[in-house]
């Protein structure tokens, strides 16, 4: 079992989602870690971007200024919370530029939990206790633990300890990564990974930088090195399809040319863009960019899937 030392390691966890079926084989528990090294303009998990726990507000839980009004007074920062006297609705509004200075202790004073924090510090032991709750399902389905984010490899010590713990319990392990980190981060975690789902977002470096904030040279180097260094690990390439950004055949062909020489890259999945993140941006204020993308058409997805099937020698 895990050592006492490693079980006390802490990481910033956004969410633990049970009974997942899309992030690896079988029934799985997906642990979302906070912090990302990219800023994709289509991001559907904006709450996972910042590495630390951050303020969020659920307006439906606010009991209003007449009934409460605690957050309008000290120790809450002046001007961070307010209401509009002219409005029928006396629930508080947030000035995010001032409210982000709130600490966790202050937020916890909100009696209805309308103010809360996205993300919490957890130990490896605490996370594994949650993961273990579904161990019977993992064994019967071949499932296990998936680490996602954000970018789970940024918390490489924490991730390695979680995955090692899962392996020791006989659970299958998987990670989802975009690959933008020093190789040492990836190298530390991959020995404990059965399946690595990894993103090929754009091919051209300048365009990758435009849409994600960084060029892709190191990302591709990391992936190639991972394929070669860990021949027994299963790799699944993925592309989130964003119309007008990467819905071009050249990108799909380039990814296929990159992955096909490596036998341990067993699949290339397309992830048509969805807009689930739209509501979540509202919970976090306007710190993040959001561009209004639409979903790709079924024809585009089908055409690309046919290219992938052909490259993998499948009849489709």
């Amino acid at each position: 079992m895990m050592t006492a030392h490693s079980s006390e390691l802490t990481g910033t966890v956004l969410n633990i989602q049970r009974f997942c079926s899309h992030d690896g084989p079988g029934i799985r528990t997906t642990v979302f870690l906070k912090g990302c090294s990219l800023r994709c303009k289509w991001c559907s998990n904006p709450e996972s971007i910042h590495p630390k726990p951050e303020l969020a507000y659920d307006v439906t839980k606010c009991s209003g200024v007449k009934a409460c009004g605690l957050c309008l007074k000290s120790p809450f920062p002046a001007g961070a919370f307010y209401f509009l006297p002219s409005s029928d609705d006396d629930r508080i509004r947030i000035n995010w530029d001032l409210a982000l200075d709130c600490d966790e202790a202050t937020i916890s004073l909100c009696p209805t939990d309308a103010l809360y924090m996205f993300g919490e510090l957890m130990t490896v032991g605490q996370v594994m206790n949650e993961v273990e709750k579904d161990s019977a399902f993992y064994r019967s389905s071949g499932g296990g633990l998936t680490l996602s984010g954000g970018e789970c490899l940024l918390q490489s010590d924490f991730s390695a300890a979680l995955l090692e713990g899962a392996h020791k319990r006989g659970f299958n392990t998987a990670i989802e990564t975009a690959g933008n980190m020093p190789w040492s981060f990836m190298e530390k975690v991959l020995p404990h990974v059965d399946t690595m789902l990894h993103d090929h977002k754009l091919t051209v470096a300048e365009r990758h930088k435009k849409w994600t904030g960084v060029a892709n040279k190191r990302i591709l180097e990391n992936f190639k090195r991972a394929y070669n260094t860990f021949p027994n690990t299963k790799f699944i390439a993925r592309t989130p399809l964003i119309p007008g950004v990467n819905t071009d055949e050249e990108h799909i062909r380039a990814v296929l040319a990159f992955i096909r020489p490596h036998k341990n890259v067993t699949e290339y999945e397309l992830l048509p863009y969805h807009r689930f993140g739209l509501g979540k941006y509202t919970l976090l204020g306007e710190l993040y960019e959001l561009k209004d993308f639409t979903a790709p058409s079924a024809e585009v997805v089908e055409a690309f899937q046919a290219m992938i099937n052909e490259a993998f020698g499948r009849s489709g």
């Binding site: 990302c36 090294s37 990219l38 800023r39 910042h50 590495p51 969020a56 507000y57 659920d58 307006v59 439906t60 002046a78 001007g79 307010y82 509009l84 002219s86 409005s87 029928d88 609705d89 629930r91 508080i92 509004r93 947030i94 000035n95 995010w96 530029d97 001032l98 982000l100 940024l154 933008n180 980190m181 020093p182 904030g213 960084v214 190191r218 807009r275 689930f276 739209l278 509501g279 979540k280 941006y281 509202t282 919970l283 976090l284 204020g285 306007e286 710190l287 959001l290 209004d292």
Partner: protein, 385 residues
């Protein structure tokens, strides 16, 4: 004269508004008359934070020679940045990973090293909060409100609004002609998330048949009923103007949040319920057009003017306002004011503390004269008041 001041910097927040040069010119002329040295910071704060990116070091002298040919009708000579929050500056760290860092201390240090005694900032609603924070950290600042939607509290009129209003009116006239020839109901969505000034004043100017504003929840059945009465064989068209923040009392999809999560947003981006905060431009126009088409035996056509109204040359009113605000900011600094916003409440110019200007929105009071005028002109406002 305020003897403590010798050098003033001017910067412009994100988002274009017609008349920026007029403000810069007003400040430079008024400051020059006092013998002060005025400089402009390029691209928001970027000229100060990243001087190495600029051949001239990121600061532009606004001396008399430089400004004598400055056209108040042209765009801003200082440039702008899409992000002007020094508390969350996005950058690549040494490991080539994207992160946001607080560079406010560095910014203040740079201002000190440039011997800047005060900053005049031309900003919108959110920028006021950022400057409120900077002022609390020691920045001597005077802010000038700019707003296309005229929704900044404590001032009767922000510069930029009148130019947007003129362009909106011109577009509405064209839509009306198109609707008339096609025998349709034209539904035009205009800017105005929380405040309906643009929709209301433009709608009055073109005698629209209906004007929908965020301040008055709208019953589209009532609108359909009123439009049906106005549409005749001799006048087989109608024009509806809807602010993008319009709310509906009917159970329409636009009223429902796009996810189960509900929240509040930053000032000027928050609606009454906190729902539907970030919506694609044109959703209100499409919703109104579809619903009216269902309720009436008429064709509708939806159009969203969106952010296009922010461009163009300033009107005569905005040129005057820009010069007035620029000169007013110098007057505030000379009077020893700090941490204030220049407000124009005709005939007076006032200096309003920033903490009184933030967290408020200048909305249309339901008993305002403009509402009464609209009703007198038989413009349907979406609800019987």
């Amino acid at each position: 004269m305020n003897s403590k001041i010798k050098r003033i910097a001017v910067n412009v927040g994100s988002g274009f508004v017609p008349g920026l040069n007029a403000v810069i010119l007003g400040a430079a002329l008024a400051g020059g008359k006092l013998g002060w040295d005025l400089v402009g910071i390029r691209d928001g704060f970027e000229g100060l934070l990243y001087p190495e990116r600029y051949p001239d070091g990121g600061m532009v002298s606004l001396n008399p020679q430089r400004i004598e040919n400055l056209d108040p009708a042209a765009g801003g000579i200082l440039g702008q940045s899409p992000r002007t929050d020094p508390f969350h500056v996005r950058r690549l760290n040494e490991d080539d990973m994207v992160e946001e860092v607080d560079m406010s201390d560095h910014l203040l240090e740079r201002l000190r090293s440039e011997q800047i005694d005060g900053v005049i900032s031309i900003i919108g609603g959110r920028g006021l909060s950022i400057f409120y924070k900077l002022q609390r950290k020691g920045l001597n600042t005077v802010c000038i409100p700019r707003s296309i939607e005229n929704d900044i509290a404590a001032t009767s009129v922000s510069f930029g609004f009148n130019s947007a209003l003129s362009f909106t009116i011109e577009m509405l006239d064209r839509v009306r002609q198109a609707a008339q020839s096609a025998r349709q109901i034209g539904v035009v969505e205009v800017l105005g998330r929380e405040a309906g000034w643009l929709a209301l004043q433009a709608g009055i100017a073109v005698c629209a048949d209906a004007v929908l504003v965020p301040e008055i929840p709208c019953d589209l059945s009532l609108v359909a009923e009123r439009l049906q009465k106005k549409i005749t064989p001799r006048r087989p068209y109608a024009l509806v103007v809807a602010a993008e923040g319009t709310h509906f009392s009917d159970d329409l999809p636009v009223n429902k949040p796009s996810s189960t999560l509900k929240a509040s947003l930053a000032p000027l981006a928050t609606d009454i319920t906190g729902d539907n905060i970030i919506e694609p431009s044109g959703r209100v126009a499409q919703t109104v057009a579809n619903k009216l088409q269902l309720l009436m035996a008429e064709d509708t056509h939806a159009l969203a003017l969106g952010p296009w109204v922010k461009g163009g040359t300033p009107t005569a009113v905005d040129r005057q306002l820009g010069l007035l605000y620029g000169a007013g900011a110098i007057r505030a600094l000379n009077a020893g004011q700090d941490g204030v916003m220049v407000a124009f409440n005709p005939p007076d110019m006032e200096f309003v503390p920033l903490d009184e200007a933030i967290n408020k929105t200048r909305t249309v009071p339901t008993k305002s004269e403009f509402i009464q005028i609209a009703r007198s002109l038989d413009i349907c406002l979406g609800r019987e008041l």
